[in-house]
Amino acid sequence: MTDYHLVIDGATAEESWIYLDDDAALSDAPSIISLTRLKDQAYALAERSAPLGVILRADGLGKTDLGEDVRELAPFIDRLALIAIHFPAYRNGRGYSAARVLREEFNFTGQLRATGDVLYDQWAMMNRCGINAFELAADIDLATFQTALGELSGAYQPAADQNRGALWARGK
């Protein structure tokens, strides 16, 4: 059981992944590990056939509080089925750039998930940046999620979604 309502591609979904602490043993279950572990155990992980995911953390690293660099994932992209982007506070928008880099620069096609402080008024922005899986508070229903995504009917600029943006779409 999870304590969140998982929505993937606009539909409620069963959680099939587990978050693993760095000292917990790897099993055959689809597992989400830290970037540190991914880098440290790259060779051992290559032997493993079960789906692999990683969480990109955005808090707590030094005085500048930057978090992990999304581009460190570059060598591992092909082996990852899931990348979870951690939003330590909804006001910390660093993860939006990480999401777009993953989708548009690395062409990552797996599950891109928002975890942490993932609130109503941010879902649409996250969605446009290429995040397709959301860990919502347990009491939020799917209809609420869909309402939030549809509050703004269009966009001016392209991002990681299909919306080309009005500046490009007009007259087309």
């Binding site: 930057l66 928008g93 703004l152 269009g154 500046l167 007009r170």
Partner: protein, 550 residues
């Protein structure tokens, strides 16, 4: 001027409905204040000392008369009969009730206006030169690219939760009236040797606790590549800007801590990646569509001189003074740019009543091709007035206390709302501006003193631009009492500079005398034709300091 199409209308309407829902969720308790605050801020709603404050965007400072009339209507219906024009070409209302703001925004949307992104840690209202399209010597009307930036930055999904607020200003003239070097990004529209239009981009300017003049990041970005370049700057900032300390979160600190060269390298690297997809290359048809809105109005072919205009100056000394101070040459023969000072002697800098706004709207409709501009120095402009009509316009302005002939003079001060309204302020700004204006009320003395820009902030956030005043005044709080610190030598134009503090602060009782001491020191020391800033740059701080403190 740009007109909304169906898409623009729909999106603004969506936003108002969204905010209506957010207000309802806040009032019902579904949203905590902590959750609601960034949402209301992104719709321009602050909580100030006495009430909420709403900041409405006036993109690149351009208004049609019907929009100005709407601003007057809002002041009457939802506020207390006035509004405050700010240094970022916005208007602020000081007394709206939270639960009425969605209705207010609905009315604004009817005239293609909004309060979107006028606050919050996002890309704010794009500002520009108030003389755009009216002054000789522009590479291109800077409002064209300003509008493209406005659209690109509106609801940008990646850049709505930045480390801190982000301000962009654009000019296309060698004389910078938009203070572009004091913005997070400052853009100069220019023409290269091949005759192509492109953009010089400055990054990392800003005021506040740690003021910096922006660094030139690139000399020339081709027209079609600008958004890719801006997105590159923004992405570097969003990924690397500090989030642990709000005083160190602006891009100016990133540029300073990273170093100009390294910043440039990172931006170029990001730019190459983003540009490779050509996703942000705006189609030529869309650039043409937007440009067409800023085509010059249908000017008449007129002689360069107007007999009526000359005669009126000869007949009316007050009008002659108004022309001397407030009227600027237009690029079109037979036309003039008319500045409206919102700095009457003893008045509140930047404030206009609903009645005054209506008068200005009428004048714009009849005499200025329907346009009004807002300046970063908190004044208004009628940009396209026939020389033959200037006297008529002047008479109407004078009848409503709008014809103070003090543009660029000592009483034309910038002042933030200060402790009379603002929740962040440490000291009052407006009463000080009023006292200085009264002290130097004699216009002949003001002309004798010449160009002198006094800028007053009530706290270190520097909304009153004190760092870049020729004379800057900063209000500080010492155990609940107001004190004022003076700085000298700042400038916000193409020679942007940060002023130097003279020394210890002055009490409320002594500050106006101290300003007078600074002014007389200048008039005693100036050489022929020197403005205050020229004299200061020549003689330095020492003589001023000596007279202030010995």
């Amino acid at each position: 001027m740009y007109r909304y199409d169906e898409f623009d209308h729909k999106l603004v309407a969506d936003r108002v409905n969204q905010f209506r829902g957010q207000v309802e969720r806040r009032v019902s308790g579904a949203l905590s204040e902590d959750q609601f605050k960034p949402l209301r801020l992104m719709n321009g709603v602050y909580l100030q000392l006495h009430a909420y404050m709403l900041r409405v965007a006036i993109p690149y400072g351009t208004l049609r008369s019907e929009q100005m009339r709407m601003l007057a209507h809002i002041a009457r219906k939802y506020d207390r009969g006035y509004g405050h024009f700010t240094t970022r070409q916005n208007i602020q209302y000081n007394w709206p009730a939270l639960d009425e703001i969605p209705d207010l925004l609905d009315e604004l949307a009817c005239v293609e206006m909004h309060a979107i992104q006028t606050s919050g840690n996002c890309i704010r209202n794009v500002t520009s030169d108030q003389y755009a399209g009216a002054i000789e010597g522009e590479a291109e009307d800077p409002r064209i690219v300003s509008e493209i930036i406005r659209q690109w930055s509106t609801f940008h999904p990646e850049f709505t939760y930045l480390p801190r607020k982000f301000k962009i200003a654009v000019t296309a003239h060698k004389n910078d009236r938009a203070a572009i070097k004091l913005h997070d990004i400052g853009i100069v529209v220019k023409q290269n040797d091949a005759g192509e239009i492109g953009y010089e981009v400055h990054v990392g300017g800003g005021q506040g606790r740690t003021p910096f003049v922006a660094k030139k990041m690139t000399d020339f970005v081709p027209k079609a590549k600008l958004l890719a370049y801006l997105e590159a700057v923004m992405r570097v900032y969003n990924m690397l800007g500090r989030r642990d300390n709000s005083y160190k979160a602006r891009i100016k600190i990133l540029v300073h801590e990273t170093g100009e060269e390294e910043m440039r390298r990172m931006v170029e690297e990001e730019f190459a990646k983003i540009d490779a997809s050509e996703m942000l290359t705006v189609p030529q048809e869309e650039i043409d569509r937007i440009s067409a809105y800023f085509a010059p109005p249908a000017f008449e072919t007129l002689p360069a001189d107007s007999q009526a205009f000359s005669q009126a100056q000869a007949d009316d000394a007050d009008f002659a003074r108004f022309v001397r101070a407030n009227v600027v040459a237009h690029k079109q023969d037979g036309y003039a740019i008319v500045n409206i000072s919102l700095k009457p002697i003893g008045g509140v800098p930047g404030d206009a009543t609903d009645a005054q706004m209506d008068v200005i709207a009428d004048l714009a409709e009849r005499f200025s091709h329907d346009e009004v501009r807002v300046t970063h120095e908190q004044n208004l402009v009628l940009p396209h007035v026939k020389l033959d009509d200037v006297k008529t316009v002047y008479d109407a302005l004078a009848a409503h206390e709008l014809a103070t002939a003090n543009l660029g003079l000592i009483s034309d001060q910038i002042a933030c709302p200060g402790l009379d309204y603002c929740n962040l302020a440490n000291a009052r700004s407006i009463p000080l501006a009023q006292e200085i204006s009264e002290r130097f009320s004699d216009l002949d003395r003001q002309y004798d003193i010449g160009e002198l820009k006094i800028k007053i902030s009530g706290c270190i956030n520097a909304c009153g631009h004190h760092h870049v005043g020729h004379i800057g005044i900063l209000g500080v709080d010492k155990k609940g009492t107001e004190f004022y610190q003076i700085s000298l030598g700042g400038a916000a134009d193409e020679n942007a500079a940060i002023g130097q503090i003279t020394g210890r602060a002055f009490t409320e009782e002594d500050i106006v005398d101290a300003i007078e001491t600074v002014v007389t020191t200048y008039t005693d020391l100036r050489a022929d034709g020197e403005r205050f800033i020229d004299t200061y740059n020549r003689v330095g701080m020492a003589p001023f300091k000596e007279r202030l403190y010995d």
